[in-house]
């Protein structure tokens, strides 16, 4: 590092002037075979919904390939797959919803290791001076989760906060910024 990084500042209020667009929540085209919806609530330390937030996601496709045009493991060939979703709310009920496909496993950092299917998530809101990063794992991937190198560093009793559960049309994943069910957040 030669230069000081530009610091983070809070995204809101009034984030909805600059960040939303119609296709934002679509990490995959809604008519993609196997498209799912992932939805949930974002709550604060008092359990109250956080109605003014941005949630962004980044993930691989079902083959474990990313829609990164610059490469890395071979870019995704799934038509209409962007792998990135942005869901903005600013007068809602604290809920979010994205459209995507369920990711496949991807390579781990250690050669030969694999990571369980997961989605990286950034949460930003008024009152948050920096983003909080978490991951969505899938409760129905028990075997893959059991050998995931990152989950292995998370206390077992907190795994539940990282698991999305199957629901009609997709999965549900709630986020608690603080409190007894506080979501596991990662230092990135």
């Amino acid at each position: 590092m030669i230069f000081t990084p530009t610091p983070s500042q809070t995204v809101g209020p009034f984030l909805s002037i600059g960040l939303p667009w119609a296709g934002g929540p679509l990490a995959a085209a809604p008519d993609t075979p196997g498209a799912i919806r992932i939805s949930g609530m974002i709550r604060d330390g008092a359990g109250a919904p956080v109605p003014d937030h941005v949630l962004e996601t980044w993930q691989a496709d079902a083959d474990g390939r990313f829609a990164d045009l610059l490469g890395f493991g071979g870019a995704s060939t799934l038509a209409g797959f962007r792998g990135f979703a942005r869901c903005c709310a600013e007068d809602g009920d604290g809920s979010y919803e994205i459209v995507t496909v369920k990711p496949g496993p991807v390579a781990g950092v250690r050669p030969g290791s694999m990571q369980a299917p997961h989605i990286d998530v950034s949460v930003m809101a008024r009152g948050m001076l920096d983003r909080c990063v978490t991951r969505i794992y899938f409760a129905d991937e028990e075997q893959a989760n059991a050998s995931d190198p990152l989950l292995a560093t998370v206390p077992r009793e907190r795994w539940a906060t990282l698991l999305a559960h199957a629901a009609p049309g997709g999965y549900v994943f709630d986020i608690h910024l603080q409190g007894p069910s506080e979501t596991v957040f990662f230092a990135i």
């Binding site: 590092m1 000081t4 530009t6 330390g45 691989a60 250690r110 950034s122 948050m128 990662f186």
Partner: protein
């Protein structure tokens, strides 16, 4: 609470061993890092910052868990084509039928990583209040006038040298409810995607000489003085356009390459 994983607390349990020449199987993109540097203390604001009251219930209390940068973190979307679609996306003064009221300014600069390497092709999104400090938003109760010719949002993608350029109106300061007689210094919100998920940044650009800066908890949430000054644009007489616009320069520095995953300190 520290915002970084704390050593010795078990968070580094799965730290990969130093194994010399081995590299992950996805190590195949030239000039692209396999990991990014970790922020040091004071460079970014703490999530728990009591002077900014809204942070009280919106920060995690438990320690963050160390996330080694893997393929999900070192890749990212190249979102420009999906987001920059209009002829006047980067000229906030020409998005309506008439001219907005206020001081016309050019805000330009370059996006680098902290090694000084320009970041080409990264999406830069901005949003701001109008000249009177009023946002075009139903939640803004500040009784300053709305400007029918100003929406306050812009987008562009950096060129091959990492450059971006907006034409806009200098935003006004405005009061807010954080504490008695609280005022936000004039600012423009910036959102940058960077090259990778790990480089994502949302920040605010401030103006030089703004008298409200010393009193603003959001600005002062950044403990490191040099880092704080990174958020203040420079007035650029050379870039002004005679009889037309003032000019400010605002360079942004996203985190640069870190140690390779096998050399990371834990």
């Amino acid at each position: 609470m520290s915002r970084e994983a704390r050593p010795g607390t078990g968070e580094e349990r799965d730290a990969p061993p130093a194994t010399g020449e081995e590299r992950p199987i996805y190590a195949e993109v030239p000039d692209t890092p396999l990991s990014y540097e970790r922020p040091s203390a004071g460079m970014h604001p703490p999530l728990d910052y009591p002077p900014y009251r809204s942070s009280a219930l919106r920060h995690p209390r438990l320690p963050l868990i160390y996330l080694p940068h893997g393929i999900t973190e070192i890749t990212g979307p190249q979102l420009g084509p999906a987001r920059v679609v209009g002829e006047f996306d980067s000229d906030l003064t020409r998005q309506h039928g008439g001219e907005p009221i206020g001081e016309r300014i050019i805000v330009s600069g370059r996006v680098y990583d902290t090694d000084g390497k320009p970041l080409a092709g990264t999406l830069v999104e901005i949003w701001q209040a109008n000249a009177a400090g009023r946002y075009r938003h139903s939640w803004d109760r500040w009784p300053a006038p709305l400007d029918p010719n100003f929406s306050g949002a812009g987008r562009c993608v950096t060129d091959s040298e990492g450059r971006y350029r907006f034409i806009t109106i200098k935003p006004g300061p405005y009061p807010w409810g954080n504490h008695y007689n609280a005022w936000r210094p004039a600012h423009i919100h910036f959102s940058l995607l960077g090259r990778a998920f790990a480089q994502r940044l949302v920040t605010q650009m401030y103006f030089p000489g703004d008298p409200f800066q010393p009193f603003d908890p959001i600005f002062n949430s950044v403990a490191d003085e040099a880092a704080r000054q990174r958020m203040v644009a420079s007035f650029r007489m050379h870039d002004t356009v005679p009889n037309w616009a003032q000019a400010y320069e605002f360079d942004l520095y996203l985190r640069g390459p870190g140690a390779t995953p096998f050399e990371e300190r834990h």
